[in-house]
Amino acid sequence: MVELSVEVAGLRLRNPVVVASGVLGVSVGLMKRAEDAGAGAVTSKTVTLNPREGYPNPVVYELDYGLVNSMGLPNPGAEEMGRILREARRVLGIPVIASIGASTPDEALRIAEALEGFDALELNASCPHVKGLGADLMSDPDAVYGIVSALKSSGYRVFLKLSPHGDYLAVARKAYSAGVDGFTAINTAKAMVIDVYARKPVLGGVVGGLSGRAIHPIAVRVVYELHREFPEVPVIGTGGVEGWVEAVELILAGASAVGVGTALKRGFEVIGEILGGIERYLRDEGFPSVESIVGLAHK
């Protein structure tokens, strides 16, 4: 028997597959389906202090090798998300990570207080298509420092979600000095689609974020670099995990757990497929546990 359970920043997960933020939106029912399908943890949709409607349609464009989205962080706001997370806490057995979008320490604290019922916070510093939030934080490491410090001094367990853009290592260093518990890497990569017959940008938000297969090697690189620089800080490796091979690759690069987003388009069964594959790989290659291969590519 190989051991699939992992410890990530003090969270015990029955296995390393985490549903990435934004993909199950705001539905307790969908989080439950993910748990029933085998997920080790789920992440909520990024929640902001006030409700947001997001961008007008079209908000997604499907490619053979990924997906471009400009959802624009639609979410019902912190108060309503608090109700949803309390319900999730009642219904789910697995840990729930609450993703938050804030641009000041005060805002982040107010969101966190409104939420409760989560096991860790994930600060989204990396949504590529929303002004003032998300990616803009990546260009302001001091702001990240301020928010992470404030959340840490209020006793929260905090992950920082990084984008593949800019000097993400500088941002990670700041978060590290503020006491961050873990990193999630990566969010989507800034992208755009133009329809050649309409001769217009497709997405309602014009600029979107690329996810899925296309960004996997980028995620591997970012995770590898984070693990090299901060070997003791756990990383939830996210980006293009479509099957067990990509999951194992990210773990070898240094991820303690893996996020799955776009692949869920194919159905919840992908979670089981990924887990089955990881288990087979460990058994066939003679490893006792997931934890025994974390960062092995660095050795």
Partner: protein, 266 residues
Amino acid sequence: MGYTRARVAEVLDLAPSVKMYILELSRPFGSQPGQYVMVWLPGVGEFPVSVAGEKGGALRLVVARKGRATGYMHERVAEGGYVFVRGPLGRGFRLDARKALLVGGGYGAAPLLYLAERLSGAGATVHAVLGFRSREHALLVEDFRRVAGEVWVATEDGSEGFKGTAVDLFERVFPGGGYDAVYTCGKELMMEKVVRRAVEAGVRVQASLERIIKCGVGVCGACALEPLGLRVCSDGPVFDGETLLSLEDFGRYWRDHSGRRVPLPP
């Protein structure tokens, strides 16, 4: 899957603020009754529309004018113009009925017409109950008459057929009919009554739901139904009666653009 550019071959006025568009597709969609497409008007917006028919590379859509994008379509998209479509999306109706009763209200009649054509083509007996506000708002009735054995029309003001709602008329027709399947599409409160009645009678029933659709491919959660976490865009829009009655949301809640659950709009 990107968009298919489709030429508008024909536009027909069906009723005040309801038009039918016949689109020429460059590749067949192979759609099933109950599936929908996303219609993109570049620079304007994108919205879901049920397939009202597909034959020989022509896609038939019935669009009611609601707001911005459908309003633009009504005013600006004419014969010879172009729209962009992605699809077909979602899961449609099961097509295994022998004797079916279709219950439609307003533009909900559109996907049921496609269903009626397919079922009768497969040798099933098809009857239809169609409800509208008034004679002026009645649509597709003649098209139904071509493929269905019986077509009963209800209008709320009695200006055509039975005076009352589609549900009132359904209540009269259904008990004597010996149907093995009921299919419904229209206002959710109408469908809720039809579904409840059919399930009580032990007759298989399917209904097509409407919710705000954002991604259409099951990744964003905008259209989720609680507590089962079913996605209207990809697990539906067609669901069976037992499933619908086990939901908290059916006939009660809907999600606004932010994802918040709010009371179903009237």
